[in-house]
Each structure stands twice: as C-alpha cells, then as structure tokens.
C-alpha cells in the first residue's frame, strides 16, 4: 500500500511544481516585457544637466547681469538619522525614527510648541505642542510624537545642529525647526522623496558653507546646495532694459512640458527661471541655452551607480547691448531725483547708448522689494523710456516745420500778438503779448505757437501727419524690448485738432525713445536709423570679440528731406540753446564743453486726476543732439509730474546738460574711441 501512497505523494509534488512552472511561464514569457520595462524604469533615471544663464553686457564689456553661485543650507530628511536610512522602505515609520538606544530630546524642555494645520507647520511660543499627521486610514504617519505621553521626540543631534546653524547664520532656531519639520511633513505625505534636499537657509556665506562642509558630524542630515542666482555686478545699471527673472509659472511649465514632451518633468521646470521683462525676456532663449541630460543608473536608494549616456547642456550666448556703461551711469545719476526717462542714441548707427527710466529698481533685491515696487504710485517697474504714453508738446514743432518746409508752405515771416483766432475760438500763444514778427528759426527758438498754427494750416493736415509718420511716430521702433508702446498718431486732424497736433498736443502720444529716434533722424541728415539696443551675441562667458550680430530686418530709411529744410530746422534748434532768449538758453548758460548742443524744449500739457480733482500733470521735454556741427548723439529727456510753474527748459534741459557735461568725448566724436572694454 505504501508504494501507491508514495506515488500519490510524488504526484502531488510534481503537480505543485507544475503550478510554479505555469506561474513562471506567465511572469517571464507572457509578461516578461512588462516586467523588463518595470525593472528598467526603476533603475534608469534621466537627470537634466543645467547650464548657467548667459550674461548681459554693455557694448564696452561691463556686465549688467550674470549668474553667480549661491549657497543654501539644505536638509535631507532621510539622512537625519541612520536608522531612518535603514528603514527607508517603510513609509509609515521612516521619519525621525528614533531607536531605543538613542538619546531623545524632549521638546517640552525647550518650551516650544509646534502645531500642524493641514499642510503647514507652525512653531508657536512656549507651551505644549500637538503634532498629528495621519494617512488615509487614520493611522499616524509620523513617529515624532510619543503617542502615549504626547511628548515631541526629535533626535538630540538635530536640535544641536539647528542651534549651531542659528549661531552661524543668525536665523532664529525656531524658524529653522519649522522648515525642517515642513520638509519632514512633505516627505511623510510622499510629496517629495525622502532623500531630496530641501533648502532651509538660503544664500549663506562662505563661513557657514565651510563649517557645514567640513564638520558633517555636527550637522548630520544637513548639507550645502548650490544654486544659480542672477546678480548685477555693476549695481542696478539699466535695470529696465535688463529686466528680471522669475521661476516658471504654470503656463510656462505647460509650454515647456509640451516642447520637451514631458521630460524632465514638472518639478524640474518649476525650478527653472525665465525672463519676465526687458532683455532677459526678449532674449530668454538665447540666454538660457539648452539643458542637457544624463541617463544614469540608480540603486534602490536613488544613489547614482553610473552614467549610461549623456547629452551635454548647450550654453547660451552672452547678449551685448549697445549701451555704453559710462554714459548709462551718468544718465541714471542725472535722472535720479525725477520721474521720467532719457534716451541717448548714436545718430549714425541708431545704437542706443543709454536708456533709462526713473524711478528705478535694484534687480538683485527684486524679490524682497517686489511688494513695495508694485505698490509704488510712481511705478518703478514701468519702463518709461519705451512704454511711457506722453504728450510731446512743442518738440513736435520740429515735425510741423519739416512738413511745411518740404511742402514749401512756410510763411517767410509772421506776426504773433499772443492770440490766434480760428473759427469762433481764440487760441493763445504761451507768451501773453505775443512774439512779434518772426521767421521759422526764431519761431523754433521762442517756440511760438501762433507761428506753427499758421504754418500747420498752410501745410495741411496730410503733410503734418505724413511727416510725423515718416519720422517714426505712431508705431513701434522695433527695438527688442518687450511690450514696447507704439505711441498714438491721429489719422486725421481737422481744424482745431490740427492746431493741437501742430504743437504736439491733442491725440498725439509718444515714447521718449520715439522722440529720440526722430531727432536722431534730423541730426543724421534725414536718414532714420532703426534704433537698436542689442548689439551682438557673444560666446558664453568669454570676453572675446563679437561672434554674431543679431539679424535685423529693419533697414535705414532715407526720408528724402532736402538739405534746405534740415538746415533751417537745425538752425532753429541751435538758436534755442545758443542764442539769448531761446527756451533752452538759460539751462545751457556757461556750458563748458568743446561742442555745441542743439535741442528743443517743450512743456506738454496733461491733466491727471488726483484725489478726485483734476490737476495739471505736465511733461517737460528736452530733445536734441550734439555736437552742432557734426551730430553724433541724439537724445530725448522727459520729466513727468511737472507743477504749473515748471517747464521742459527748467527740468528736462538741465538733466540733459548734466549728462552732456559729463559725456565721454569719444561718444561725441571728439576723441578716438577707446579700444577694448572698460571693465
């Protein structure tokens, strides 16, 4: 009988192994590919390789913005306790696991209170504490509280490390604890991997870095993480043109996810920086470069075991602006006390030598200052030079004059008695008793309204509007600054509207950049050079020569103005400053430079409502060029918020003078240009 039973036993064994055989066939052959994929997915990780953002330079090589390494102190929750590292696979118990042999720190003795509300952790003062984070099944997630006594248990060494960090950096220890606990809670909720580094203190000094790096035993679980920070080594120079960065927002992330087909993932993109304004925004792609990637093999603790493949990151290219750092500094200084903008242009090339808006901001303190900046009624973030919507006022008389001259309809001489009757209305000149008998150049010199009203009526609305358009008003200059304002130029101006337009009032709105472009064209013998802010692109982080010019489809435009017209206008502009009685004479009295300045002042009328009352909010202008004989620099200075008694001659012109008194002579062609960079 036993033989049969042994046979049955053997049969049972065979059957059992056949079942195993079937299972193996299913796992290895039927589902083999699935599991092979699974194994590969968990062992292979693609790691993005970052590259520093390229620099923004001036034409003379001064650095306006560059990336610098910043050091943060970060905590790695999984490394706070060796026991944690060993128990990492059990998410319910892996946090702050305190072994029996370890000395415990009772938080009550330190008299702290830690309160957790949903996602956030609060450390509050000096009484008992409650910490409770539960998982979906209502089981406690964290082992940091002794559940019988309610005591808060932290590894002793953590408290000591935090104390040392507090001494080194001056941060309050409670705040640091709060951040560490916040990271721990994030780990507990599986928001972040347990071995990821979470910044606890940002931007620490070398002393702290050295301490944490060299004494790992005293800072168990803490480490130094490096991060790129955008800095302006030359101070807040041309902040509006340079612009600023911020982290990717939701829509940037979405766009990037689409562009890179989801790799390396949301959390990576969320930490990238993108230009939000100025050149940082306009040239974002060029500056940022392309991140690379590394395909690494990792073990079960996410530790790198080797590189399987890699594609190095491609650095961006430095963007060199046309700005001259010396002039820019001078202009910004001159503008310091006013609300306004100034633009200086090389008339022969259209290169912007300086462009400034005031009040300005400090890009390196942007993050801290942002709330104040955003709330400031003077809008320091607003780039007035390209976005200001300003009435131009009398400076527009240059346009009216050119329109009439080209149409050959300038009155040879005209009487001004202070009033001008048009239809049933009477317009008044700004000089109550009139300017008397005038011809064109003196009309410009004195800025006689009556003369230009007559002139405009004789030339006709078409000629004036057309000339304004040819000189670049009413459309964007095309300089590569984001959100440039194109200004406003009426399509038609009949009767009274034409009279308003003739002296730059009414529907006309311009930016300081447009005004500078216009005067530069006049100074450049009627050839309008497209204004440029970006000079060329250079290889990343080298001080070598220019590599590539930025393609620009805008062409210089010869406006076809006759020499006679230009000479007449220029003579007028000369007289404004250099003849007694000119509107700019007083501002430039005793101007002691080896060149003469030409220009036109203006006080454009504007009203604003302040506290429910309508008040005068005039704009003072000074627009011109220098030197008189061989123009090199065209400029426009606009000052806002003038009081009733102020005018362009008393506000904008002195600023222009201040700049021109200090302008390096090589920029006005009186000295050979300096070779090489200044910095």
């Amino acid at each position: 009988m036993h033989k049969r039973r042994i046979a049955v036993l053997f049969g049972t064994m065979v059957a059992a192994f056949l079942a195993v055989e079937g299972r193996l066939f299913y796992l290895q052959i039927v589902r083999g590919e699935h599991y092979a994929d699974y194994a590969d997915r968990q062992r292979v990780a693609l790691v993005p390789l970052n590259v520093a953002r390229a620099r923004i330079l001036t034409s003379d090589g001064a650095v306006l913005a560059e990336d610098k390494l910043a050091f943060d102190i970060a905590v790695v929750i999984g490394k706070l306790d060796p026991a944690t590292e060993r128990r990492i696979r059990n998410p319910l118990r892996r946090l702050f696991y305190v072994g029996r042999t370890q000395k415990l720190h009772r938080i009550e003795e330190a008299s702290w209170k830690v309160r957790a509300e949903g996602d956030k952790v609060f450390v509050e003062g000096f009484s008992r504490l409650e910490v409770e984070v539960r998982d979906g099944h209502g089981r406690p997630r964290l082992d940091i509280v002794d559940r019988r006594t309610g005591e808060f248990l932290l590894p002793d060494h953590l408290i000591r490390s935090l104390g040392r960090l507090a001494v080194l950096t001056g941060e309050p220890r409670d705040e640091l604890l709060k951040k560490v606990l916040g990271a721990a809670f994030d780990v507990a909720r599986l928001r972040i991997p347990v071995f990821s580094a979470v910044a606890v203190i940002k931007g620490v000094g070398y002393e702290t870095v050295a301490a944490v790096d060299t004494r790992p035993d005293e800072f168990r679980g803490f480490g130094v993480r490096t991060r790129s920070e955008r800095v302006a080594p030359n101070g807040a120079l041309a902040p509006h043109s340079v612009g600023y960065l911020s982290k990717f927002n939701e829509s940037d992330v979405r766009a990037a996810m689409k562009k890179y087909r989801g790799w390396p993932g949301r959390s990576y993109f969320m930490n990238l920086r993108i230009g939000r304004a100025g050149i940082e925004k306009a040239m974002d792609d060029v500056l940022r470069g392309e991140f690379g990637m590394e395909c690494i093999e990792r073990d079960h603790l996410n530790r790198r075991q080797g590189v399987l493949a890699d594609a190095p990151a491609k650095a961006g290219r430095d963007v060199a602006l046309t700005i001259d750092s010396r002039l820019q500094r001078i202009v910004e200084q001159a503008l310091n006390d006013v609300t306004g903008a100034a633009v200086f242009i090389d008339v022969r090339t259209g290169h912007i030598l300086a462009i400034a808006s005031s009040p300005k901001f400090d890009p390196s303190r942007f993050r801290q200052d942002y709330p104040t900046l955003a709330a400031d009624p003077d809008q320091p973030l607003w780039n007035r030079a390209v976005r200001g919507r300003l009435p131009l006022g009398s400076v527009f008389k240059i346009v009216t004059a050119l329109a009439a001259l080209e149409a050959d309809r300038v009155p040879t001489a005209s009487d001004c008695d202070g009033t001008f009757r048009f239809g049933r209305r009477t317009f008044r000149c700004h000089r109550r008793y009139g300017h008397g008998r005038l011809e064109l150049t003196d009309a410009i010199k004195y800025s006689c309204n009556v003369f230009f009203w007559r002139t405009a009526l004789r030339a006709g609305e078409g000629a004036v509007i057309d000339m304004a358009r040819r000189l670049g008003f009413g459309r964007k200059t095309g300089v590569r600054i984001p959100r440039e304002y194109g200004g406003k130029l009426p399509l038609t101006a009949s009767g009274g509207e034409l009279l308003n337009l003739a002296i730059g009032q009414g529907g006309l709105q311009v930016t300081p950049l447009q005004a500078a472009q216009m005067v530069a064209a006049v100074a450049n013998d009627g050839v309008l050079m497209p204004v440029k802010l970006i000079g060329d692109l250079r290889p990343f982080d080298t001080d070598g020569p220019a590599a590539t010019a930025l393609p620009d489809d805008r062409k210089p435009r010869d406006l076809g103005l006759s020499k006679r017209s230009l000479d007449a206008v220029r003579l007028g502009l000369y007289k404004v400053i250099n003849e007694y009685g000119g509107t700019g004479y007083r501002a430039f009295q005793d101007f002691d430079r080896p060149f003469k300045v030409c220009g036109k002042t203006s006080t454009a009328e504007r009203t604003a409502s302040r506290d429910g009352r309508v008040v005068q909010d005039n704009v003072g202008w000074f627009v011109g060029y220098a030197p008189h004989e061989k123009p090199r620099v065209g400029f426009a200075v606009a000052v806002e918020h003038l009081s009733g008694s102020q005018g362009g001659g008393s506000t904008a012109a002195p600023i222009a003078r201040q700049v021109l008194e200090a302008i390096p002579l090589d920029l006005v062609g009186l000295e050979p240009p300096k070779q090489g960079g200044q910095e």
Binding site: Q28, Y38, D299, R303
Partner: protein, 389 residues
C-alpha cells in the same frame, strides 16, 4: 564502517542531484551577495566564502552521519527529539533576534545557528520512529499523537516567531502519516478540522504575518505609492526580477534588480528570484527539474525500503526539502504569501545548509542500508559469501 562496497551502494542519483543544486546555485548566491553603495561603490558580502565553508562542514557532517545506521539513530530518536526541544527552550531564553525572529544562538567566532532548522530533522526521525510500529497509523488516536509530536516543536518555532520554518513541518508530517498507512477517512477528518481551524489560526497571527497574507491576496490590484514601497515591496520587486529575466536571463552578475539592491534578502530567501533574473526561464527550470529529480530519487529510496522506519525517514526528509523548495519558489513568484524560508542547498545560511546536508545524509543512510527486495547476482553472491564466512 564504510567500505568501497558501501560507496558503490550510495544512491548516486540523489548525490548527483544535490551536488548539481549546490554547484548551480552557488554562483547566483555569490552574485546576490553584492551590495550597491553610493556612487557605484558597491561590495560583496563575505557570505559566498562563508557558504563554501558551510558546505564543506555540511559535507563532513553528512559523511559522519552516514557512519551509524539510521536504525541506530532511530533508536535514540527520543533523545534527539527532546534535545531539539531543549535547544528551542534555550533559544527562547537566550536567543538572539534577527529581523524580529528570536531564533538564533550565538557561538564564538561569529557563528550563529538556528536550532529550529535541526529540530525539523529530529522531529522527522521521532515521527518515523513513532509511526513505524505495525498498524500504528490505523488508529485515529495514534494519528493525533503523531500530530502532537510534530505540534510541540512547531508551536515553539512559530512562537519565535518564525512561522515559515514552523510550517515546513506540516507537509512532512502529513506525508509521513499518509505513507505510514493512515486511513483516508481519518485524513479526511483531519483536513476538515484544518479548514475549521483556519479562522482560529488567523487570530493567532501577528500583524506582520497577517499583512503578508493580505498582501498576497491583493497582488495585482491597483496600489498606492506608499503600498508599493511598503508592504508590497518584496513581492513586487521579486516578481519584477523574475519577469524581467524572460527566456534566458540577463546573464550571471548582470541582474539589475539584484545588483542595484531593489530585491531584498536576495542571497537567502529570494535567491530563486536572482536565478530567474540572471538565468531566465531556462535557469529557473534547471532548479525545478533538479528538485523534481531529487523528489523522485528520494522517494524511490523510500519506495524500495522494506523497513517502515527507513521508509518514513526518507519520506519525511524528502518532503521537508521539496516542500521547502516549493514554498520558497512559490512565494517568490507570488503563488504563496511571503514566509521566510530558504531554498535548500542554494540559499546562503549556515544552519540551513548544515541541516540540509544532515537531512541528505539521513536519506542516503536509508538508501545505503535499505534491505533490498530484489537482489542482483553480485549482491546475492555477496550475501552468500558473508554467510559462509
């Protein structure tokens, strides 16, 4: 004493199968002893070398155990049995816990032994002795007594708690009772009782053991991340290791689940998963076929043994090996809940290796001295020659 004649009468199929298992398994055990470190700075543990020593010691022990007749051993079965129980008591009092189970005794020179591994063998001998009396197993009372003999060490081992090792006694006991000639009616009654007893057994399990079972029942369902890295970790990683091996494996030493630490306990409990990953379906079949050959060869020793004690010892030992091998493999592939038992002759482990070799020696001992039913011509002349002398 053992002479050339005895060597010739050794059951070579069993010997060759065991040698094949050891030789085929060791390289994978070595491969599984790698531990990855930061920046690719991994290292091998010393277990492959230690295992060689254990195998040598085990082989010597096996030779020693071939010297006394299995009958002589069965004569002292009561002493062996009580000795085993005493060892379990010592473990209970002075034992050393590894992974929560207090089942180890520390010896000098960093040697740790697990008495429960040896108790399995002594219990089999005791049961064989008890059941070998003519018609003993025919009565229900005696069957229950036999169960009690097995139950005492079983409960003691389960209390360590090492349920896996304890449960290995169950199939061996049942097989021995079956072969001893128990009535099928009684066996059916026992099976029914076991079914009734199952819920009670559930109450006796600790939370870890329960979660092993619920995990096993829930495999293949949608899991949360916490579950994937928590209680499901070993099962998932084992299945991934096995499945990703496919037909012929990734090659010895090239298993990523193995080398990158994704698979835990892989040179002991999960060594089969490493074999599957690195040698594929084909390599896995080598192990399975070897186990089936071992089962066949071992049971044929039992079959041809006329003496009940020898027969039952052989049945018990073979069932111990094969059941443990089956349970180990079945748990790595997810057919059974994960219980901590090793793959005999392949997994790393001193006690497991020594007790496996001791068991093998018992089996060969029976094979060596079994009274043959049929005699070949030479054997007959042998016997006649002995008689004449």
């Amino acid at each position: 004493m053992i002479g050339i004649r005895q060597v010739k009468r050794l059951d070579w199929p069993v010997v060759i199968t065991l040698v094949a298992l050891v030789v085929f398994g060791w390289p994978f055990m070595k491969s599984a002893s790698y531990r990855s470190g930061p920046d690719g700075q991994g290292y091998y543990t010393s277990s492959p070398q230690k295992q060689v020593i254990w195998i040598v010691v085990g082989a010597v022990l096996a030779l020693v155990l071939l010297i006394p007749s299995y009958r002589a051993l069965s004569e002292v079965s009561l002493i062996l049995y009580l000795g085993g129980l005493a060892a379990l008591v010592i473990v209970m009092l002075y034992g050393h816990a590894v992974h929560g189970a207090k089942s180890w005794i520390k010896f000098p020179f960093d040697v740790q032994l697990q008495p429960s591994e040896f108790v399995k063998i002594t219990t089999v001998i005791a049961l064989a002795r008890y059941l070998s009396v003519e018609n003993k197993a025919k009565r229900m009372g005696n069957v229950l007594s036999a169960l009690a003999i097995a139950a005492v060490p079983l409960v003691m081992i389960a209390a360590q708690p090492d349920l896996g090792t304890a449960l290995m006694l169950v199939p061996a006991t049942i097989a021995m009772i079956l072969v001893a000639g128990a009535r099928l009616k009684h066996l059916g009654l026992l099976a029914a009782a076991a079914v009734v007893f199952l819920p009670v057994a559930w109450l006796g399990l600790n939370p870890t053991q329960r979660s092993r079972i619920t995990t096993w029942l829930r495999q293949g369902r949608k899991l949360t991340q916490a579950e994937r890295v928590g209680q499901f970790h070993h099962l998932i990683q084992s299945k991934v290791a096995i499945g990703s091996g496919r037909w012929s494996g990734k090659g010895l030493g090239k298993g990523t689940q193995n080398k990158l630490n994704y698979l835990g306990f892989r040179n002991t409990d999960f060594v089969f998963a490493v074999i599957c990953e690195e040698a594929g379906f084909l390599g896995a079949n080598v192990i399975i076929v070897l186990y089936l050959v071992l089962a066949g060869a071992g049971l044929s020793i039992a079959r041809s043994c006329r003496e009940p004690v020898g027969r039952l010892i052989a049945v018990g030992v073979v069932t111990l090996f094969v059941a443990q091998g089956f349970v180990n493999i079945a748990m790595t592939v997810g057919l059974l809940p994960i219980v901590g038992v090793t793959l005999p002759f392949v997994s790393y482990g001193g006690s497991s290796t020594l007790s496996s070799f001791a068991g093998a020696a018992l089996l060969l001992n029976v094979g060596l001295r079994r009274p043959k039913i049929t005699f070949s011509r030479e054997e007959l002349s042998d016997i006649v020659g002995n008689y004449r002398r």
